[in-house]
Symmetry: C2
Subunit: 254 residues, 2 copies
């Protein structure tokens, strides 16, 4: 039973917090992942805790990019597996992307728990645990460079929701097109990725699946045009302006 | 051994994170406390990760208020016990304040671990675990209303670093003067407290101890004047402006 009083004005946010805590208890989430989620909560609060028009534009560009991809891969970490495993599997099926478990804080047991969760959520194959097909990315230190030959290593487009800046950079240096979810529009990840969706992944993922479905009948030119018209740096700058406007508004009512 | 690569640009923040994680492993910190710390990290990042002039003003007012207090009490939770136990004990000695353990997520074992940590850090007495002297605060739901008759219940001034909005409100309703550390200048706690120090407690606590020492020879009138000249709402509003300015600056260099 939840200890959170329903009368608490931040009950909704505390319930999501409980979901992560449950994921932690089930061995999916690292302790550091709980802290990382807290950071996300703060930015979500500053963004108004809703999916903005800006996020929707980024989602549309991401969907177009995924539909144009030849070898798309979705990188899954513990927080994603705890927050939206079914949705991630659904997205992978919608765009025929491979799933690969890739952890910042590497840990075999946790990796297995994540794979199990994804399979329970409908995934047929999850890469990232076979030493025979593992290889290394350049430009990133040892513990976090390992990827699957048939997954991220061979991918042209990689979705890395809730990723670290170092790894995002390593993926870009390896020539990948990177799509990320990041609530901090100032982070290195946000600025290194090709397409940054500044939204809570638990809200944005369903919209991304929808958009992939919606755009799936478009031809290549039409999809290319959507990507061409999307400016990630501009989108991020506008997200910063949005936070500033929210701060002004909140400061007024506080 | 730390798994955090020294080359990581956010290594410092990740090391503090490790401190909390260690506190969690030692039974001091709740899982939810890890998330709460993450939220703090994000606001600290937005505030520039340094003690501002505004925070110093609040620290000065807090010191004056503590020196004028007749029955000051410092409320300690798991995160505080993990981050700066020695400093909290030092502050309590400097201002002759009682220490009371008071948890958002109540848990007997954790309470005992916190008391043990405070005693190890030099505390002679720690209130909050004796059922014979426990009583209840009004206006807050059951699990969190319990306080010590000889501690918070009888206090005129309460320091509640990293506190929840509900409880801050209950303390104000009970007629207490509340001093808090909160990195979010928009939070209910920040706006409910009498004096809000918008700073990372691990940085600000030493300054607060120093200021208490510095002001200890002042007379009552002089201390009253410091408090009279401090405007908490104005201080919070200026902190919001500071975040906005930092956002502008960061967006420019991103």
């Amino acid at each position: 039973m939840s200890l959170i009083p329903k009368s608490h004005p931040r009950a909704k946010s505390l319930f999501i917090r409980e979901k992560l805590v449950k994921g932690f208890e089930n061995g999916l989430v690292a302790k550091e992942g709980l802290l990382a989620q807290g950071r996300g909560e703060a930015f979500d609060y500053l963004l108004g805790e809703k999916t903005s028009r800006l996020a929707k534009n980024a989602i549309r560009a991401a969907a177009a990019q995924l539909l144009l991809a030849e070898r798309p891969v979705i990188s899954v970490n513990g927080n994603i597996a705890a927050l939206c495993p079914k949705e991630i599997v659904k997205l992978s099926k919608q765009i025929k992307a491979k799933l690969e478990v890739n952890l910042f804080y590497a840990n075999k047991t946790r990796k297995q728990a994540i794979i199990k969760m994804l399979k329970k959520s409908g995934a047929k194959e999850v890469l990232g645990s076979n030493p025979k097909t593992s290889t290394k990315l350049d430009g990133i230190d040892s513990a976090r460079r390992i990827v699957d030959k048939n997954g991220i290593f061979a991918a042209d487009v990689v979705v890395v929701p809730l990723e670290d800046g170092d790894r995002t950079m390593a993926l870009r240096n390896a020539g990948k097109i990177v799509i990320t979810f990041d609530l901090n529009p100032l982070s290195r990840t946000s600025h290194t990725a090709n397409i940054t969706i500044v939204d809570n992944v638990t809200r944005g993922i369903d919209l991304l699946i929808e958009e992939c479905k919606k755009l799936s009948k478009r031809n290549k030119d039409s999809l290319q045009k959507i990507i061409y018209n999307f400016d990630n740096k501009k989108n991020l700058a506008e997200n910063v302006i949005q936070i500033k406007n929210n701060l002004t508004r909140r400061a007024r009512i506080a």
